[in-house]
Symmetry: C2
Subunit: 218 residues, 2 copies
DNA sequence: AAATAAATTTAGATATATCTAAAAATAAAT
DNA sequence: ATTTATTTTTAGATATATCTAAATTTATTT
């Protein structure tokens, strides 16, 4: 059985891997978890002893099979709990992250099975993110980040890849939610911001925001 | 904010107080929490520094106002979660304790408010135990323990005061559940066991079991 | 290629929560 | 009222998870 701290490290490594780092650096984990690089080094040593990661000093870290399985399972629990909080308890999608961060560490496979069933086996969480299966796979979807989308196309917002209150509240302000149709015009070279329109209203979206918007090309 | 361990100590002290110890002893806490008396002494010192208990060395401990408020709130959360697990997720009443022990430590007042509403503000948990109010009071009910009930009377099982799998499974075997009507005949002096009948079937109930059965006198 | 900068690890501390063994205080028995 | 037994506390260790500061390794510049 793993501690909360260990689980959070595994989850952070998974998250950074998905975001593109094949070899995850100590510093990026420290940033992700709001802790010091020294603490990360300490923990990586421990996770290696527990045979959950592949870690080469000064080089970086990756999850091994068992570590990935644990991390994906926590992600599954996190997203199922978020779904529960929004669908059943009437939380807003921008309020659920912190509570789900706690709930994801509850240990009971039966609990998650029953929760999954209670929610009618949802495939996506309230942010549009795919929910990993019980078997530990993350179903792939054909989404593109707004920051990387082709210019002069249309699309639908399928989800967000960041679960931070300030970000989600900003989206509310922009009137961007899951299912919103958008037209993409062009990308500015200088700051990589994107010009789009929502309901015929033109807007400029910063790269920082565009990086976390998942779009389905129409 | 308190740690899980601190919360568990406060809960244990509350539980033992309710069971009748006005001054709770170090040893009884150790037994309740399956730990050593030394650990309990250590923790009591800490809880006193945090001003959550009234502790006199070698004499015993009691909750002060703030400590009681925290402990009652954990009890409320525990019982609400158990209700959720049984009513919504189809757990059996003898399966929910361990998961609720984890869930009770989740920190979010809003979560509990919404859970309470989602469950239609239940007054009793699946074991028949009263759920403390949001304001921190434990509503009193006119129940008597089977171990202390008057002889030659009738009663209804209102609940149990112990949430242990082996105990609840034994009750299932005895066909005792909440709402079961029983006739009480007499109590044996020697072992304090009680002779009762359920559906006209005579049975002898040990004091150990009778101590945890809450009965409403008819 | 040497010097500088950045990233990472180690060393040494601190805080929490636990333990065993020994000491001290209280309760029970003779 | 002593002695004995029980309960409780303290002392000293261990394990987890964190930190700051110093040392080391790797990357980047000049």
């Amino acid at each position: 059985m793993n501690t909360f701290a260990e689980e959070n490290y595994l989850k952070a490594i998974l998250s950074l891997s998905i975001q593109g780092e094949e070899l995850v650096s100590t510093n990026s984990i420290a940033t992700e978890l709001n802790t010091s690089a020294a603490s990360v080094s300490d923990m990586l040593k421990k996770l290696q002893e527990k045979k959950l990661i592949i870690y080469k000093k000064y080089k970086g870290v990756a999850l091994n099979k068992q570590g990935k399985s644990i991390a994906v399972n926590i992600l599954r629990k996190h997203r199922l709990w978020e779904t529960f909080l929004v669908k059943k308890l009437d939380f807003n999608w921008d309020e659920v992250h912190d509570v789900a961060e706690q709930l994801e560490h509850i240990k009971s496979e039966e609990l998650i099975d029953k929760l999954d069933s209670f929610l009618y086996y949802p495939k996506f969480d309230p942010h549009g993110e795919v929910i990993p299966t019980k078997e530990g796979t993350i179903p792939q979807t054909d989404r593109v980040l707004l920051s990387e989308i082709e210019e002069n196309t249309n699309g639908i917002v399928l989800g967000v890849s960041l679960d931070e209150t300030s970000f989600l509240q900003y989206l509310n302000k922009l009137k961007i939610e899951i299912g919103t149709e958008i037209q993409i015009f062009d990308r500015i070279d200088f700051d990589k911001s994107v010009n789009i329109s929502i309901n015929n209203k033109k807007q400029n979206i910063s790269n920082e925001v565009a990086k976390h918007l998942l779009i389905k090309n129409k």
